[in-house]
Amino acid sequence: MNMHQKIKSFFNWQIILTLIVGLCLFSNQACSRDDRPVKIDLNEKMHIKPKLEQDVITYAYLPQYSHTTSYKRHHQIIKYLRTETGLNIKQIFPDTFDQHVTMVKNGKVDISFSNPFIYIQIADQFNAKAFARIVTIQDQENFRGQVICRADNKKIKTLKDCRDKTWIAVDRGSAGGYLFPLGLFYSHGIFQSDFKEIVFAPGPGAKQEKVVFAVHAGKYDIGTIREGTLNVVASRINTSDIRVISSTPLYPGWVYATRQNLDAKVIQKIKTALLALDFNKKGDRSILEAANFIKVIPASDPDFDPIRELASDLKVSK
């Protein structure tokens, strides 16, 4: 067979037809992937019943941050408390400071973890009682507020330079984020009317962070935050772009309080468990680090009188 015949035989139509049929079979095989569906019947219905839990002790963290942050910080403590006390403790998430206060007032919050200014509100108005307070990571029982601006803002170097500037604060009820700095401005003869504008971070939640972001974005000249907030946002912005103009005096830190009429045994169990947290214990340490404090110490209502005085000076209604 010569080359021409070989070529002819190679290209005869039977072979071509075979190739095409083979290709179709191959492609059909390729198209029909092993993707067999699971058959289900959507007609089999069920009704959702709300899970009603009995003897729930509610635990609320004043929403200075987002609910997620609040959850991240405190869900381990709650898990710890449930284990240690045997109580059905659940974290709830008020959207605002006012809602937090209202829920304490209405008894929907059994354990309130709030700043001292809120505490004096719920204590003085709704008989909440402090039973413990925290020691911060910086080993401080007290805390303070900070006045910040953009690092490249050359017009603002001291508190006096804050006159006629726009100011964003955390919340009217925020101790570190508004009241402590306001007291600081008062002590320097600067009053609300001396500012060009005073605004509060929009809610709900993440209000401390929003103040930092607003100043960082240059939307406002200065901002007031609780000390430690910059560490919270350090992973999201370059904190060296923010300059701390001044810090307020130290005031008593965040406080655990109970609503009125909560069972004393419950209070005692919780207090005991909280005070038992030891930063040096491996298990407790991760709980405390997540909550951003190193230990819980006993507290009583008179510990927060300096706050009451400040509120009085500022003529802030309790």
Binding site: K8, F11, N12, W13, Q14, I16, L19, I20, L23, C24, F26, S27, A30, C31, D35, R36, P37, V38, K39, I40, D41, L42, N43, E44, K45, M46, H47, I48, K51, S66, H67, T68, S70, Y71, K72, H75, Q91, I92, F93, D95, G205
Partner: protein, 690 residues
């Protein structure tokens, strides 16, 4: 078993079929591969889209879940479903797989809860569901806050969108493939059509060439030719307006850029020419052009070959004619001594036709033992390479023949013998002449000897004759002594006449050249012999021409010629006969002609050749010396004349026309022997030389 008959397709159709089949094949392969890839991509994109939506929704659901904000959760899941028609459902399960929120109306489908589970190690899980009405890709995504799982988001995507897009992709791919195939087929058709047309044309041209018709133009006609491109007007250029042949194939073009010579010598320079760059086509066009060129060259070569063939045939015929015209036989033999070519003389010699001779050896052609001998000679020449020259005898139909043979070897460049050329010549006549020459030389020697002897004995003979005559005066008449002396005198005179003849034969007699009248000389001779002739009743008839010119020569010698001829005539007649003497002037040859005829007995044919030989005589002993006609011949030759004899005893021929037919009528009446003498009368008579 089915047997499908193979359809014989033309090359053009084979190309189209193969091209279309390949396009179909590649198109379908491409279609299926591309559509498969696009389907996979679509499903993957759908999955990524679902996962993206799920991750986004999960993030947005964290806080509502934390706060157990059912309203927000419901709002989020409902909004998600509304984002796209293919999102069938969305719901959230808590860590105990209890539905928290969902988008179903009229209750939650219980079977959905457990069909797709995702553990903490995975970011999502996909499950393909068949609800009976729809087919759904179900995605399960865990909702995390840090490492704490809040629950599971489930998202159901109908396959309708994927199927719709897939169908659209398939259709688009199919249409694109079909369109591409059609475009490619059209392009291929347009591309291959000129190629297949050229190949078909080339094929037809080759068949035309095989049929012997070499007037072929398979190359396509160009849009522009060299004279257009070069703005050429040289009509004498062989490429000018020669559209059937490209200029780079044409020898002797007149372009300045063209190299001299044919294609092989000029193509390199032509390839740089703008004509070549503009007109040179693809390989098939070049093939067609080369084919045309080769056919043209073949045609020219064939024409030259035919001319050469004709010339060779003519030369061969001429050579054969020459060879056949040669009396010599010529033959050519190969290394096996077989005859491969012979001429007509050879054929005649062996008595066979050329066809019967070729491829045979000498042994096959000649009788034993000659054939074997000739073959041995041939083989010896072929083996030694040395030529052979010899004379040999042979017999043919006319009798014994003398043949001069030359056998020469044919040598190659390396000295080897490739054949043998033989030639042979019939030298029988030469041999006869040679014998005659020997005889003449012998006779000349005898003549010289005789002359010497005659000269030496002439004087003593004269003394003997003189004393014999003197002594007769002293003896008595009638005595015995006188008779003896008379006998001595008589024989002495015979001896004297013989000596005189010998001297004349040897030309030792001095000639006396004069201008004389031939009739006077004849009359003088007749006066001497007339009385003797009359006694025996021999009549002499004279027919003298008038106004004949005189002859320059030795009159006495001429008289001796007449005496000899008349004596011979008298001897031939004996008694009662006639002798005729006739003279006339041959103006054409400017000579005198004298004929002497007699009514004698004539001369035998066998004697005619020897008639003028010395010492040849038919007369009896003591009657003739055999020198008379010899002397006569010598005298006539001395005078620049000729002498011929015609005789008819029974058959008569002239000496000079012995080979001619003798059947012509005898022109001399009752005369049986005629001698015809011619003597030149020009002033430049040969005798003047003596």
């Amino acid at each position: 078993m089915f047997h499908i008959r193979k359809i014989k397709l033309e090359f053009k159709n084979q190309i189209y079929l193969v091209m279309f089949s390949l396009l179909m094949f590649l198109g379908l392969v491409t279609f299926f591969i591309v559509s498969s890839i696009m389907q996979d991509t679509m499903i993957e994109e759908n999955k990524n889209r679902a996962v993206s939506m799920g991750v986004n929704l999960s993030a947005r659901l964290i806080e509502p879940i934390l706060t157990m904000d059912y309203f927000s959760m419901k709002k989020l899941v409902d909004e998600t479903v509304l984002l796209s028609n293919d999102i069938y459902y969305t719901f959230v399960l808590d860590n105990d797989s209890n539905p928290i929120i969902h988008t179903f109306h009229n209750g939650f489908p219980a079977q959905l809860i457990h069909v797709n589970k995702v553990n903490e190690a995975r970011t999502f899980s996909q499950q393909y569901l068949d609800t009976g009405k729809y087919r759904v890709y179900d995605y399960a995504l865990p909702i995390f806050v840090d490492t704490n799982r809040l629950g599971t988001l489930r998202l159901g995507l109908l396959t309708t969108r994927v199927e719709k897009i897939t169908r659209r992709i398939m259709l688009t791919a199919l249409f694109s493939t079909v369109f591409s195939i059609l475009i490619a087929a059209l392009a291929g058709f347009l591309l291959f059509r000129p190629m297949t047309r050229n190949i078909k044309k080339l094929h037809e041209a080759s068949e035309q060439a095989m049929r012997g018709d070499l007037n072929i133009h398979s190359a396509p006609v160009l849009q522009k030719n060299c004279w257009d491109i070069m703005n050429c007007s040289q009509k004498e250029c062989p490429a000018y307006h020669n559209a059937s042949q490209r200029c780079w194939y044409t020898a002797g073009t007149l372009c300045k850029t063209c190299a001299a010579g044919d294609y092989a010598k000029k193509i390199l320079s032509c390839q740089q020419c703008k004509v070549y760059k503009a007109c040179a086509g693809n390989e098939i066009q070049s093939l067609a052009e080369s084919f045309d060129y080769m056919i043209l060259s073949l045609k020219n070569h064939l024409a030259e070959l035919n001319l050469t063939k004709e010339d060779v045939s003519k030369q061969k015929a001429l050579l054969q004619t020459i060879l056949d015209g040669l009396p010599d036989f010529v033959s050519l033999q190969n290394q096996k001594a077989e005859y491969i070519s012979v001429n007509q003389a050879f054929c005649t010699m062996v008595g066979k036709t050329q066809h019967d001779i070729l491829d045979k050896t000498a042994r096959d052609l000649f009788d034993f033992p000659h054939g074997s001998t000739y073959l041995k000679e041939d083989i010896k020449v072929l083996e030694t390479g040395k030529p052979l020259v010899m004379e040999t005898t042979g017999m043919d139909t006319s009798g014994k023949k003398w043949i001069h043979v030359v056998k020469s070897p044919i040598l190659k460049k390396n000295g080897a013998v490739s054949g043998l050329v033989s030639s042979g010549r019939d030298i029988s006549d030469n041999k006869i002449i040679q014998e005659q020459l020997c005889q003449a030389q012998k006779m000349e020697s005898v003549g010289q000897l005789a002359a010497g002897v005659a000269h030496e004995i002439n004087t003593p003979l004269g003394i003997i004759l003189g004393y014999a005559q003197i002594l007769q005066e002293d003896v008595k008449p009638g005595s015995q002594v006188l008779e003896d002396l008379q006998l001595i005198e008589k024989h002495s005179k015979i001896c004297s006449r013989i000596v005189a003849d010998l001297l004349r034969f040897s030309r030792r007699i001095q000639s006396t050249i004069t201008q004389f009248d031939i009739h006077h000389a004849i009359d003088d001779v007749l006066n001497m012999v007339e009385h003797t002739f009359t006694l025996d009743h021999v009549e002499i008839e004279k027919y003298f021409g008038t106004d004949l010119p005189s002859v320059k020569g030795d009159e006495e010698k001429i008289k001796q010629v007449f005496i000899n001829l008349l004596n011979n005539a008298f001897d031939a007649i004996g008694k009662n006969g006639r002798v005729s003497i006739r003279t006339f002037f041959d103006s054409k040859n400017h000579s005198l002609v004298i004929t002497i005829a007699d009514t004698g007995s004539g001369i035998l044919v066998k004697h005619l050749n020897k008639l003028f030989d010395p010492f040849f005589t038919t007369k009896g002993v003591g009657k003739g010396t055999g020198l008379g006609l010899s002397v006569t011949f010598g005298i006539i030759e001395e005078h620049g004349g000729t002498i011929q004899v015609d005789s008819r005893p029974a058959e008569s021929k002239s000496i000079e026309s012995r080979q001619a037919s003798d059947k012509a009528p005898w022109p001399y009446g009752d005369y049986n022997t005629v001698f015809i003498i011619t003597l030149p009368v020009s002033k430049n008579n040969k005798l003047e030389k003596y």
